[in-house]
Amino acid sequence: MTSIKTPSTERPTPPDSTPGAALHSGTSDLRALVLNNLRQSGIYVALVVIVALFAVLTDGVLLSPGNITNIVLQYSYILVLAIGMVILIIGGHIDLSVGSVVALTGAVSAVLVIQQGHPWWIGVVAALVVGVAVGAWHGFWVAYAGIPAFIVTLAGMLLFRGLTLRVLDNISLSPFPSEYQQVAAGFLNGLLGGQGFDAFTLLIGAIAVAGYAVSGFRTRVARIRYQQPVESFPLFVARVVLVGAVLMYFAWQLAHARGLPIVLIILAVLVLVYGLLTRRTVFGRQVYAIGGNLSAAALSGVKVRTVNFWMFVNMGFLAAVAGVIYSSRSNGAQPAAGNMFELDAIAAAFIGGAAVTGGVGTVVGAMVGGLIMAVMSNGMQLMGIDQSTQSVVKGLVLLVAVAFDVYNKRRAGTAR
C-alpha cells in the first residue's frame, strides 16, 4: 500500500523558482545571511559571547597576549583530535580510543628518544607510524568485520592504554631533548626583528588575511560566472574586513607575547588541509554521503568499506600528531597521558554542529566548538573556579549546544 505511505504533496510551482530569481534571493542581505546560517553562525555568536563574557569576568586577562598564547598551546592537541573526530562523526562513527592512542604514541616516541637516545625526528616518525597502525586496526574491525565503532574503539581504549603501560613499564619518562620540545613549546620569532613585538608573526597574519580575502574573492567571481547566488558586495567586504580584523588582532597579541607558536602553524595547516578535504574532495563527499544515508551511498557506488577504513586510519594519524604535541608539551610520557581527551574532542565536534545521526558537521565548526570549550576552561581557571564547577559547566554547555541543534532541526522541519 505504498501509494499511501508516501502521500504526494506536490506543491504548485513557487513564483521564485526561476534561476534568475534564485540569483537575487538566497544570501543577498544580512538578515537572510544570519537566518539561513543560524545553525552555523549560532556557534560563532556563542564563541564571541563566551569570549566577551570571560574577558569581562577576568578583567581582560583572557585576551592578554600571554594568555592567548597559552590557550593555543594548551588546547592545540584537543583541536587536532577534533578534526579527525568530526570526520568520523560525519561518517556516522565515533572514536573513544584517541586518549589512549595519544598516550601510546607519546610513549613510543619517548622510549625511542629518551630511553634509547635516537634523534628527535625518529620519535616523531615512529609515533606517526604507530598511530596509523592503530587507525588501520580500528578501520579493519569497523569496515571489514562490521563491528560498530563504539565497541571497537571502546576495546581500543582499554587495549592501547594497556599497551602504553607495557611500553612505559608503568613509569614516566622525561625529559625530551630540546628539539623535540620545540614542537609544542617553540616559537617562530625574531626572524624579522621588531620593536617590542614580532614583525614576522604580523607578516604571517597579514598573509593569512590576504589569502582569506583573495580566495573569498575568487570563489565569488567563479560563482557569479556560474550564475550562482552570492552575498552583496558590501556584505562581502564587511565579512572580509571583520575576519581580517579578528585575525590581525590575534596576530598582534601573539606578536606582543612570544611570537608565532610552531604548534599554531601545524594546526593552521591541518585545518586548511582537512577543511578542503572534507568540502572539496571525492573522499570528503563520500564521508558525508555515508553518514547521511548509508544505503543510498552504497547504491550510488560509494565503496563504503574503503572509505570507512581510511576515516579510521586518518583518525589514528591525527591522534599520533596530537600524541607528539602532547608529549612535547608535557616534556615526557606518562602512563595516564591523554585521559579523557576523547570526550573533549567529541564534545568539540558536537558543539560545533555535528549531528549525532551523522552526515552533518564541519571541520571549522569543530574548531569553533573546541575553542568554546578551551575559552571556557581557561577563563574559569583564570577566575580560580574549582575543577568540579568547571566540569558541571562544560557538561551543561555540551547538552545545551546539542539540544539547540536538535531544536533547530525540528523547527526547520527537515525530513529526518
Binding site: P7, E10, R225
Partner: protein, 512 residues
C-alpha cells in the same frame, strides 16, 4: 441470512493528498474464511489497519460493528480485547526471546508474588503449540525457527489472546510450498473450531482452495464480494474484479523503434540473504536500445530483488547466472562496476535507498558520478552546480535553488532528483523500480515524458511496476514474474490487464 460477525460500514480513510479507502463496506460471516484480494496499493492493508485499531477510531469515517455492537478501537489493545487479532506480513516476534515469552509478550500472567509464572506460561505455550501443530520446545528462541514455524508461533500467540477473528496479511508470501500447505490446513482446522478468519492474499489458487467468500478491493473501493461456495468462482473471475480499471489515454505517445540488444541476463538465480529459499530462480530477460521493457509482478514476486541483484549484487547471496551488456559478458560484482558497465538502478524506495535527504539537490545529483566532476580526487564545485542546474531545467525540478535540502521537496521532485542522479552517470540501461510510486498525477506524466525522451535518445529502459495500466501504457514488451520465475513474456499489443494478472498469479506448480 447468515450470522454476520463483522460489518465494516462505509469506511473512508484519507491521508494528506490521497484517499486510501473510499466508502468501503465489508461483511464477514461467523466462522468463515474470508479472502481479500486486490492489486498492490489497492487499500487492503489499510482496511485491516482500520479494523484492528492501528488507525484509531476517529481517524477514519464510517463504523465498525462486531457481533452487532458498534466498536471504537483506539488502538490494537482494544481490538485484541474483543478477540480481533492481526498477524502482519512482516512477523512481529522478538528474535532472541523464547516461543513462550513471545506468545505471552505484553500479556504476561503473574503469579501471586507479582512475578511472571514461567512454569504456567511454558505449559500453556506447549498446549497452544500443539493446537497449531508445532512440535517445538516453548523455551526455544524464536530466531532458531524458520519463517513457517514463526508464522505458527504468531497464530499460537493469537490463540492465547482468545482470538475470535484472525486477520492474516499475506500469510504465505514468505513460505515455501510445504509450509504454505500446512498453514492452509491449520486455517481449516481453526475454522472447525469456530474461529473466523480474514486472509489477504495474492495467491489466487490458495483463495479458490480455501476461502468461503472473497472481497475484491480496487483503488480504495470494495468492488465486489464473491461467494465462493455457491458460485462457480474461477481465478479468472477474481482477476477481472481486480484489474477492472479503465485504461486511459494518460500516457504520452512514443514512436517505438528498438535497436540492438543492450542488456541480457540468462538463468539468473538469487538466494534470500538470510532465509534458505530462492527469491529469483532461472530468470532470463533482455532489453534493447530504444525499448521500454516492463516487469509485472505482485508483492513478493522478486522484482526488486531481481533488479538489485543485477545491479552490482546489491541484494541476496549465491547469485548465479550470466549478465551481458552489449553482447559482452560482464561481471558486475559491485555497484561501482555496474555503473561502469552503464547500468543504473532507480530504487522503489527513494527515501531509504535513493537520496541523502539531509543534503542538497546539487550533491544528490552528483553522488553517483562524482568522478565525472573531479580530477585527482578534487571535486569541481562550480561544474557540479552547473550540472545540477542543467538537471533542474531539464527535469523541471521545482526547487527554490539547487542548494535546497532534498528532504523538503515533494515526492515527485525527489523522484526527479533521483532520476537526475542516475542520468548523470550516463547509463545505457536504466532499471526503474516503481518510478511513479507515491507521486501525484501531474508528476507521473512528467516522469513518463522523461522516460520517452530517454528511449528516444537510445537508452534501454526496464520498468518495474505494480500498476498494470502504467506498464501497458509505457512498455513495448512485458515480462511477468511470479514467485521468482518468469511466467510469461509478450509484446504490449498482445497484453491485457487480465492476461498479465493471470500470469502474475500463476504459482510454481502451474508454470510451464
Amino acid at each position: 441470512m447468515d450470522d454476520t460477525i463483522l460489518e465494516m460500514r462505509r469506511i473512508t480513510k484519507t491521508f494528506p493528498g490521497v484517499t486510501a479507502l473510499e466508502d468501503v463496506t465489508l461483511a464477514v460471516r461467523r466462522g468463515e474464511i474470508h479472502a481479500i484480494c486486490g492489486e498492490n496499493g489497492a487499500g487492503k492493508s489499510t482496511l485491516m489497519k482500520v479494523l484492528s485499531g492501528v488507525y484509531p477510531s476517529g481517524s477514519y469515517d464510517g463504523e465498525i460493528l462486531f457481533d452487532g455492537k458498534p466498536m471504537q478501537f483506539r488502538g490494537i489493545r482494544d481490538s485484541e480485547a474483543n478477540g480481533i487479532v492481526i498477524i502482519h506480513q512482516e512477523l512481529a516476534l522478538v528474535p532472541y526471546l523464547s516461543i513462550a515469552e513471545n506468545i505471552f509478550l505484553g500479556n504476561e500472567r503473574r503469579g501471586r508474588s507479582g512475578l511472571i509464572d514461567w512454569n504456567f506460561a511454558n505449559a500453556e505455550a506447549a498446549k497452544l503449540l500443539a493446537s497449531v501443530g508445532l512440535h517445538e520446545n516453548p523455551v526455544t528462541p524464536v530466531i532458531q525457527l524458520g519463517v513457517g514455524k514463526q508464522q505458527l508461533v504468531e497464530i499460537a500467540k493469537a490463540l492465547s489472546k482468545k482470538v475470535r477473528l484472525l486477520i492474516l496479511d499475506e500469510p504465505t508470501a514468505a513460505l515455501n510450498d510445504i509450509d504454505s500447505a500446512h498453514l492452509l490446513d491449520l486455517l481449516r482446522a481453526l475454522k472447525e473450531q469456530g474461529i473466523t478468519c480474514i486472509m489477504i492474499s495474492h495467491k489466487l489458487n490458495e483463495i479458490t482452495a480455501i476461502a468461503d467468500s472473497t472481497t475484491v478491493i480496487r483503488d480504495g473501493r470494495a468492488v465486489e464480494t464473491l461467494d465462493m461456495r455457491s458460485d462457480e468462482v474461477t481465478q479468472q473471475r477474481i482477476i477481472r474484479g481486480m484489474v477492472g480499471r479503465d485504461l486511459d489515454s494518460f500516457y504520452p505517445d512514443r514512436e517505438s523503434s528498438p535497436g540492438e540488444e543492450v542488456l541480457r541476463i540468462e538463468d539468473w538465480t538469487v538466494r534470500h540473504p538470510v532465509q534458505d529459499r530462492m527469491v529469483v530462480e532461472g530468470v532470463g530477460l533482455s532489453v534493447r536500445a530504444g525499448e521500454v521493457v516492463g516487469i509485472a509482478g505482485l508483492m513478493g514476486a522478486g522484482r526488486t530483488e531481481l533488479a538489485m541483484s543485477v545491479f552490482g549484487r546489491s541484494y541476496g547471496r549465491d547469485i548465479r547466472g550470466r549478465l551481458f551488456v552489449h553482447g559482452r559478458e560482464v561481471q558486475a560484482r559491485t555497484v561501482a562496476e555496474a555503473i561502469d558497465n552503464g547500468i543504473a538502478y532507480v530504487t522503489e524506495d527513494r527515501k531509504r535507498y535513493g537520496l541523502n535527504l539531509i543534503d542538497d539537490v546539487r550533491r544528490n545529483v552528483s553522488a553517483a558520478a562524482l568522478d565525472r566532476l573531479s580530477r585527482l580526487g578534487w571535486v569541481n564545485g562550480n561544474e557540479e552546480i552547473k550540472v545540477a542546474e542543467a538537471s533542474r531545467k531539464e527535469m523541471n525540478i521545482r526547487t527554490p535553488s539547487v542548494m535546497a535540502v532534498v528532504g523538503k521537496l515533494s515526492g515527485g521532485n525527489q523522484q526527479k532528483v533521483v532520476l537526475s542522479k542516475w542520468l548523470f552517470t550516463d547509463p545505457d540501461v536504466l532499471i526503474l523500480d516503481e518510478p511513479t510510486r507515491g507521486i501525484d498525477v501531474g508528476a507521473k506524466y512528467e516522469i513518463y515524458t522523461i522516460i520517452n525522451r530517454l528511449v528516444a535518445a537510445g537508452k534501454a529502459v526496464i520498468v518495474i511496476s505494480s500498476e498494470l495500466p502504467e506498464l501497458l501504457g509505457m512498455c513495448d514488451r512485458i515480462y511477468t514474474l511470479a514467485a521468482g520465475r518468469i511466467t510469461g513474456e509478450m509484446p504490449v499489443a498482445e497484453a491485457t490487464q487480465e492476461s498479465l494478472m493471470e500470469l502474475m498469479t500463476k504459482d510454481k506448480e502451474l508454470v510451464g
